[in-house]
Symmetry: C2
Subunit: 390 residues, 2 copies
């Protein structure tokens, strides 16, 4: 069974997170990814902690199964190799500051004229257009500027950063989506196109509730803590041994919750009978619920509420999540093989589950810097119809 | 210029957020989306606040440009319509609890046998497999169980929910990505396939740093507040008039920051000379930087630091973000037309920017419940080669 992107080659100039996250997805879909790195140091994340056996676990988690070649795009002999790779590539990915690729002679217009089938995917902080296109941005800058931080944190206190790097990750996911749309389009037109992903754009797109509040003329939402901004009860509660979540999203679920807690009449009390009333009296309701939940461990409550059909779950740390039976059953913790006798490491699995896509529990290693140079050059010498090397 | 998904039809049984977010992206890429809703009430989000002119601004922001037909999938006459639609559909999207579609006679195996070209996209809380497949889950449950909450919040305090619904949104983005991969694959095989997106899977996939920390044998990371967990300074700072972000990700940027603040010697002081030392002394460094930044407004510092090449930016609320010149220049705040004389409303724009994709500033309205029934039935009567109705 060939994977969807079998026989495609992605030439990947990106580094750090958004771009490599995208090419990791495309690799999981079967594409061959050739990572072009800066000679000497390579992708910055090769130096990112944590380390194990002298290698960055961070880097390996984002780059397994890719090949690496180190090229100086200002040196004539390396440019020649790069251009031979371009002639064989289906997709070019880059995340330089806008203008850098043009100055190297590899801007979209120039490449589209020479390689009309090539799909050109750019990801940057602010995009290729607009007054701030040339300014630098990192994940945290777009989380802050885009508004996601402003709705994350404890009520009445300062906003916090989303612990996951959603500035980069969301952008990387849009880049993958657009590459796939462009590949589909190319089957019809024969032509590649230019993709322009901005990390800041992505942030605005993920705040459906907050954007709607402002669009309706209301004030900008503020951090709401460990709860949903407009549904009650939909938040964390203390059990005897820690936090868990109850998400009773409508009146029926609230009635079931009250029944399970042994207080069926709470559900019809005027203070709590509707979601609007519950939102108004959310702090009171939380204290009343915790008078019960504090008496027993969370496993008791989760079991009881699951049987009652009320959505609930633990608040797990990442070590716990990585041992969660459901997550393990879904092959969401995989093993990345180690190179040169190193031990394998664990990494997040591939969430792309398709009946036509293999989902192995062990994945090939991440490449050493420039580690595939000889194999890539040999593949180029075999000529344009040699197909992907293995 | 035809959009990439022109002439494709998405039959969309999903409701609330993850599925409709996916089909909104596919609609932006040019596909025709027929939203099949429950008679009487339709998509739950039609009743979600905020409202304007009697309509949910939330619903309209996620469903503009789609068509709606109300069908009871247990009623024979509606099942017949549904099956005629299936015969014309390229993609079916559904987010019922696993098993529901099977009981309706519309599980993957049954439909794949009758409509082998149909791509079948499912999204659910825990996926179609594993011990918890049948349990209900909402955004907040998977944020909690998947670990994202555990790394979000103030240091030393309880975790908070990510203000954006990343449990749903990330799942919706994976669903869109997989639909596109399956469409590309279908061009080669002629066959559709089954897509199985789990919200919980998606959460594990977005925590590159935290997963690497645990994979390296370290303790599970905890909330780090308004800062990056392992880079300093990379956090919010108080200016005279509010918060802004400084993201000085390496020694060079830190030197530039110290120069700009008028304290070039800070960069070489042993306490701050390396990122490791800065992380160790992060609170001291923050206080020292704020002794300067508190004296002037954030606009002053952002301008100064931008000129020095240090990544920086405001912490904006969502209303401010929706008026940000860069965001407006990128057409990231669009106008959704109102139906039947209603005023238009603002919504998040389409972050998918491709040279082959139009990016209009005004989009067609969201549908009334069952509002396109007559047009859809007429289109079916025109026969299988009639092409998409307009």
């Amino acid at each position: 069974m060939p994977s969807p992107l079998e026989n495609l080659m992605i030439l990947d100039l990106t580094h750090v997170l958004a771009g490599p996250f995208c090419s990791q997805s495309l690799s999981a879909l079967g594409a061959r990814v050739i990572k072009v790195e800066r000679p000497g140091t390579g992708d910055d994340t090769r130096a990112f902690p944590p380390f194990k056996d002298g290698e960055s676990v961070y880097f390996n988690g984002l780059n397994h199964g890719k090949q690496s070649i180190a090229l100086d795009l200002k040196a004539p002999e390396d440019r020649e190799i790069f251009e031979r790779l371009l002639a064989r590539a289906d997709v070019l990915l880059e995340n330089y500051r806008p203008g850098v690729m043009d100055r190297l002679g590899y801007g979209y217009e120039a490449l589209h004229a020479r390689f009309p089938h090539l799909i050109y995917g750019s990801v940057s902080g602010y995009g290729q257009t607009g007054p701030d296109a040339l300014k630098p941005a990192y994940d945290m800058v777009v989380q802050a500027r885009g508004g996601v931080m402003s709705i994350t944190g404890e009520k009445g206190r300062e906003p916090v950063r989303v612990g996951a790097s959603v500035g980069d990750i969301v952008a990387g996911m849009y880049l993958a989506q657009e590459v796939l749309a462009a590949l589909y389009d190319r089957d019809r037109t024969g032509l590649g196109q230019m993709i322009d992903v901005a990390m800041l754009d992505g942030q605005l797109s993920i705040m459906e509730h907050a954007v709607a509040m402002v669009a309706a003329g209301g004030p900008a939402p503020e951090p709401a803590g460990a709860r949903h901004p407009s549904i009650t009860p939909f938040e964390t509660f203390h059990a005897e041994d820690g936090l868990f979540v109850i998400a009773a999203g409508n009146d029926t679920l609230f009635q079931r919750l009250c029944d399970a807690l042994g207080h069926p009449h709470w559900a019809t009390a005027p203070r709590f009978a509707t979601n609007a009333a519950r939102c108004e009296n959310a702090r009171l309701l939380k204290r009343m619920i915790e008078l019960e939940t504090l008496l027993r461990p969370k496993a008791h409550w989760i079991d009881l509420l699951e049987k009652a059909g009320v959505p609930t779950g633990e608040v797990q740390n990442v070590a716990q999540a990585m041992q969660d039976p459901q997550i393990l059953a879904r092959n969401m913790v995989i093993e990345v093989a180690g190179r040169d006798g190193r031990a394998p490491q664990k990494a997040a699995g591939n969430p792309i589950k398709m009946s036509g896509l293999p989902d192995p529990a062990t994945r090939p290693p991440a490449p050493a810097l420039d580690g595939d140079r000889a194999a890539i050059l040999a593949w180029l010498d075999e000529g344009p119809d040699a197909g992907p090397a293995t």
